[in-house]
Structures are given as structure tokens and as C-alpha cells.
């Protein structure tokens, strides 16, 4: 299975015609993007009411994109997509640069969730959910991490127990982005404690808006309350909402994490290309340097050059790995190379922004313009090396799975998961 769409693509217009149609539609239907959007690192959101209004606006945009034939450009037609080659998605992304777009719906709804559904869902599951996702009717989250597990995702202890035609889920998931305004989640659970950890997992699709799922919002040190923790208490899930085979959830999980690592180059996500704020931090970094009065400072200019260099290398590497994986000249594991680069580069860009601010990075006034909050961004810097799998895990994957170096000695091989020492329960 590759990221490329099949060769039965339904091409009825040339790339240039498609581009012209996309440009005309975008210009007459979307607003120019707010130049202060997407800056910083997990900055505090607007009020809950405003955040919900933004989510609704993005659902509406998604619906409008669907009606205009621009949703799911690389998704199969039988599920409501356009089934076009990925070059068409790239063109659409290019035309989208500088405009608002349904950013909250891309990750994790389209990638990894919809991508995983396409790979592992039954015909019925795909027909039920993919069109709804393409229309902005279902927003999905990923219930993968757990409070006790850290990087060891396969050590999930959220349990699913069979009860007739249903399953009963109990446990807790964490770091689910935006779960409080979402509809569905992919959930990795333990269904068998008597086999080694990777062989006793199963994936389910879980509706979030129900009394037995309690969503608790986590405040980050920056003040953002986008991340959530969920407590699942006797959540009843029909067997028809199981994704993949019983106890074979790790097969689903590895592809799930692959799609997550590759989201920036996924044909399933819509992300503006080029120089929009979403794709480049340079306008933001120049704004900080300007507002800090350092635009003519050779030291600052050296850092600005470094930032652009790193950004271009990161983009180029992502393209290279994406092409390599799609054409089978690189293994899926090469996605870890792109992940490591993006973590290291993004965190470095944040440090560069903080460097420009001098002492005003530590103590500021909202009138300081782009200088304000840079210190908080700096404190949040490691998010880029933690979220989506830590860079340490990426380094392990690259050395062991790409370069073939000896694996770290495992302390839980071939023993039933119930006998594996685990973290004490989180209090």
C-alpha cells in the first residue's frame, strides 16, 4: 500500500484547467488568511465560543469544497472523492496559499484517521464515514497515547472486553487534539492480556459525544487548552465499529503512525503550499526581527538565513522521503527521517525567534508586536520534538529499521503483557 492514488484516476481536466477552476473558486469563496494566524507554538486559543465558531466555519468551508469538487481530491470516487492524481492536490494546495482553509480538519481527521479508514475499513465503514468526513460532518481524533505509556504506544492498557455483539471499553487516552469539539475517534485498545503486547491490541471507532466518554481539557504551560484527556467508562462499541482484525491492532497502528508522520506530504490532506503562514515561518520571523529593531543586525540576519535554509531543507527532505516511499525506493520506515528533521528544525526556528527579542522575550507588553509571547514559544519549543512520537523514537527507528543496527534489548519480549512490569497508575 503506498501513498499514491491508483492509476484509475478520473482525469477530465488538465492540471492547468484544474488550477484555473481552483483559483477562481478560492478567490470567490474564501477569505484571505489572517496574517497573525498560525504563529507561535500552541498559543492560547480564543474563547471557547469563538473556537467553536471557528470550527463551524471550517466545517462550512469543507462542505463548500465538497460541493465544488475540491474535497478528497485523491480519495476514491465511490466514497465521494475526486480520485485524481496527487499532482492535482498539490496544485490546489498551491492555489490555497494565503487563504483561510479548514486547518483543524486536516490533522487528525484526514490524516491519519481517514487514511487509516481507507486502508483497513470495511466497505460499509468506508461508505458510512468517508463521505461524512469529506463533507465536514465528522471530525475525527486519534486516541492513541495513554497517560501511563509515553512513547511505548503498544503498551496500551485501555481495555476492550467482548460482550456479545459489542465490546466494552475502559481506560484513559491522552493528548487528543481538540477532542472537546470532535465527533469520532480511532481508539487503540488492549483485547488480550495473555499474549506479548503487540499481539493483543484492537482498534475501534468511538463516538466522542456520549456520556460514558468524559473529556477533560489539559492546560499547557502556554495557556493553550487544545489538548484533551478522555476517561472511558464502560463505553459500549458494536463489533461493526471494529477496524481491522481482533488482536491485530498493531498492524493498523503502525500504518496509523506512518500516515501521521507523513501528513505534510500526504495526498489526503489539504495544506496550503508556498509562503503562507501555514507553510513558512519566515514572515513571522521577519516580523519579530523587525519589531525587535534587529533587521539590520548582521547576527540577526545570519539567523534569518539559517532559518530559511533549514526550512527549505526540511521541505525538500519531506518531498524526497514522500517520493521515496511512494516509489518503493525507500521503506516506510524512512518516514522517521522526515519526522526527526521536522522536530529538530521547528524547534530551532522557535529558538531563533526568541534570540531576536533580547530581554523583551522574557518580559513584554502586548504592544510589543511580534516580540510578545516569544519567550512562551521558547518554553514550548520541545513540542515539536515530542508530539507525533518523540525524536528519540525516530532516532531508534532510523538506526534500527533504516540502517539495520542492533535493536535495543527489549524487556518485554515473548511474555504475556499482563506479566510485563508497567508504570504505576497515574494519580
Amino acid at each position: 500500500m503506498t501513498l499514491e492514488t491508483s492509476d484509475r484516476a478520473h482525469v477530465t481536466e488538465t492540471l492547468d484547467e484544474f488550477r484555473a477552476r481552483a483559483r477562481a473558486w478560492i478567490e470567490s469563496n474564501l477569505e484571505r488568511s489572517d496574517s497573525s494566524a498560525y504563529v507561535g507554538v500552541l498559543r492560547p486559543e480564543a474563547s471557547d465560543e469563538e473556537e467553536l465558531a471557528l470550527v463551524q466555519r471550517e466545517r462550512d468551508i469543507q462542505r463548500a469544497m465538497f460541493d465544488a469538487g475540491f474535497a478528497g481530491i485523491c480519495f476514491p470516487r465511490e466514497y465521494g472523492g475526486q480520485e485524481l492524481p496527487r499532482a492535482y492536490q498539490r496544485v490546489f494546495d498551491e492555489e490555497l496559499a494565503g487563504y483561510e482553509y479548514p486547518s483543524r480538519l486536516q490533522v487528525p481527521t484526514f490524516v491519519p484517521c481517514a487514511a487509516v479508514l481507507l486502508e483497513f475499513g470495511t466497505e460499509e465503514q468506508k461508505r458510512r464515514h468517508i463521505p461524512a468526513i469529506l463533507k465536514g460532518e465528522e471530525l475525527w481524533m486519534q486516541m492513541l497515547s495513554e497517560p501511563s505509556g509515553g512513547s511505548d504506544v503498544a503498551a496500551a492498557v485501555t481495555t476492550a472486553v467482548r460482550d456479545g455483539d459489542d465490546w466494552i471499553l475502559n481506560g484513559s487516552k491522552i493528548w487528543t487534539t481538540g477532542a472537546w469539539w470532535s465527533d469520532w475517534a480511532l481508539c487503540l485498545t488492549r483485547t488480550n492480556w495473555d499474549v506479548p503486547k503487540n499481539r493483543g491490541l484492537t482498534v475501534f471507532m468511538v463516538p466522542l459525544k456520549q456520556p460514558s466518554v468524559e473529556v477533560h481539557r489539559i492546560e499547557m504551560l502556554s495557556g493553550s487548552r487544545e489538548f484533551c484527556q478522555e476517561f472511558l467508562t464502560d463505553v459500549r462499541v458494536p463489533d461493526g465499529d471494529r477496524l481491522g482484525e481482533v488482536d491485530d491492532g498493531w498492524t493498523v497502528g503502525t500504518r496509523w503512525m506512518f500516515h501521521e508522520r507523513m501528513y505534510r506530504n500526504s495526498p489526503y490532506a489539504t495544506i496550503p503550499a508556498g509562503t503562507s503562514r501555514g507553510a513558512s515561518r519566515m514572515p513571522e520571523l521577519f516580523a519579530v526581527a523587525r519589531d525587535a529593531g534587529r533587521l539590520d543586525d548582521p547576527l540577526a540576519r545570519d539567523l534569518l538565513g539559517e532559518a530559511r535554509m533549514l526550512e527549505l531543507v526540511k521541505q525538500s527532505l519531506e518531498q524526497r522521503v514522500s517520493t521515496g516511499v511512494a516509489t518503493r525506493t525507500m521503506s516506510d520506515q524512512a518516514a522517521s527521517i522526515a519526522r526527526l528533521m521536522s522536530g529538530v528544525v521547528e524547534s530551532r526556528l522557535v529558538t531563533i525567534g526568541y534570540e531576536f527579542t533580547d530581554a523583551n522575550g522574557a518580559a513584554w507588553d502586548e504592544a510589543d508586536g511580534a516580540v510578545a509571547q516569544r519567550g512562551v514559544d521558547h518554553l514550548m519549543r520541545q513540542v515539536w520534538c515530542i508530539a507525533g512520537g518523540t525524536t528519540e523514537m525516530a532516532r531508534n527507528a532510523i538506526s534500527e529499521r533504516v540502517l539495520g543496527m542492533p535493536r535495543e534489548r527489549s524487556h518485554d519480549p515473548n511474555i504475556p503483557f499482563r506479566d510485563v512490569p508497567r508504570s504505576r497508575p497515574a494519580t
Binding site: E306, R308, L312, V313, I337, V344, M405, P406
Partner: protein, 377 residues
Amino acid sequence: MLLDPSPDQEFFRETTARFLAEKVPPDEVRRLRDDPNGFAPDYWRAGAELGWTGLLVDEDLGGGSLSGLGLVDLTLTAHEFGRRAAPGPLCPTNVVAEMLGRYGHDHRETLSSLVAGRATAAWCVDEPRTGSRTAAAPVDIRIDGDEVVVNGTKRPVEAGGTADVLLVTGRTGQGATNALVPRQAGGVTVTPLRSIDVTRRYAAIDFDEVRLPLTSLVGEAGGGADDATRARRTAIVVSCAESVGALQAVFDLTVAWAFDRYSFGRPLASYQELKHRFADMKTSLEGSHAIADRAAGAVATASSDADELVCAAKAYIGQYGSELVQDCIQIHGGIGVTYEHDLHLYARRAAANRSGFGTPAEHRARLADIVELREAS
């Protein structure tokens, strides 16, 4: 290196790889340290027959590319050169051939000798920095009746001592001028310089009232700035491809060493501290491949982001490539700093390329200028 070369490109790369493996194995590269020319004429002629010298020249002038993008094809040769620390003026000869090709009908004979490998060329562009200990008069090219007169000093000039023709980029008033100077012309003095790269030869070249016919001009007197800019971009693309080849060789040697070398009863490759460093190195190596190829493609297609990508490639490969090489030397331990080990043969190539055509810091500064201009527009 290109991730998805066409069958033609792959055949071309493979042919050069086999030729270099046979003609310039590491022992031969070591032997060349004591060879004043650094390479043999028949080696170069054979390489020219394989296609090393005509990729940037139009077909009707005796050249031709495989893919329609000659510079991209040339990066495959350059990559193999780096990978094997191969000798020969690949970069300067191609840069000069490309510029002559733009004025092909004026310089047909010189061009055909370069493409055929009967002659080689050097590009004289760098000058000693004003105020430095080596400071000298910059090169002035003036027109005197029906003669071109060249004065001044260029250094360092790669292959300056062996090249048959020197393409000199100098000043005519406010403008840049490019002129072809036979190395044997009266008034040309070549002083060999020492070099970290055992297979390359650099020189300082003084031009003292060198008089040439007007036909020596390449393009218009005073109108050569664009040609010089394009030549610099080509040179950077070629040298980046070479450096990436050298980095790949250094990395491959070190990965193999990590599997073979045992300490405390286990291979180096089993230590997590080293494994994580290898992961970092692999990432910067793939990043180097990626940015080098993207820059080559952008220059070859004259894309509007070509300048920016060229600067990013030169800055990144210079900075991170140097770190990669030194990390690999570190992991080898003491043997990594001996002449006996092959590691340094490739490290030299990458280190020499780091400083030529702009240091990483110079390219970072240029990147800041490019982005600022775009932001302002």
C-alpha cells in the same frame, strides 16, 4: 543523489562509477598526491567520451544531455566524483564550457576541444580579499583598440596550473567582463598553492598586461555579470553534488565500521548513544541529497526560486556536511585521523567544497536578503 533517475541516467551514472572504480581506486588517489598535474590526459579524454564534458553544451555545438536538463545529468557524474574523490577539473571545465556554449559560434574550436577532452579549463573568479595579507590588485580587463588587456590577480583558481584555457571574470569600469586567456599567453604567471585536497590543484594567477585579440571576449565587454552569476550557480550545484557524494562515502564507511568494530564485547552499532548520532547523520545526509537535487532541478529549469535553493544547498551542505564528516572521524577514533585510512580522501573533497563559491555564512546572509526582498514585494 537523484532518487528516481531514468534508465538512461542510471546507465550513465553506473558507467562513470565503474570507470572511476577501475581507474582511480583509493591507492591511485593517494599516489596522485605526488603528481604535479593531479590527473592523466588519457584519463580525462576517456571521461569526456563517457559524457562528462558536453552535458551543458547544445547538441549543434557537439554536446547534449540525457534528460533535457543537462545540469541534472551532470550532478550524477559529480556525485560519483565526490563518492570516489576522483581527480580532474570536472566543475571548472563544465562551467567554462557552459558559458562558451552561450557564445558558441565565437569559440567553436575551444569548445569542441573541451567537450572532446583534448583540453581542460579553469574559471578564474575569486580574488584575494582587500585588506588581507594576500591582497593584490583585482583583475581589470580593458579594451585597447583591437586588443583586450588583462591585469590583476586571481586566487585560488582550481586547476589553474593544468588548464589549457583560463576563463577570467574581471572588471571593465562598472561592469563585469569575461575573457578567455590561454594559460601559455605572455604575462600569465601561475603560482601553485598547497591544498587540503590531494587530488586537486589550485594556483594563484597573476595577469600582467596580458594582451589578446578582441575575439577573446566571451560576450560583451562590461556586460558579463549575468554570465558570471549563472556560472556561479552552476559551480555551486556541481560542487554540492560532489560534496553529497563524498558525504555518502564517509557515512557508508562509518556505518560499516560501526558493525565491524567491537568494544566491550559488542559492536559499536549496538550503543544507543552512537545509534542516535547515526540517525542524526542519516537525516542530515538525506537532507543534503534532497536540497542538492532540488537546487539542481531549479537551476536547470531556471525556476524563480533557483537562487534561494542554491544558497540553501550551499549553506546547509557546507555546515552540516562538515559536522557529519567530523562525527564520522570521531566515531572511527584515532585511525580516523591517519593518512592510511580512506576516510580523509572524501573528507578533503567536502571540506574544500565548503569554502569555495561562498561559505555557509555568506550564503545564509544572502538567503536573508532574498527572503526580505520577497517579503517586501
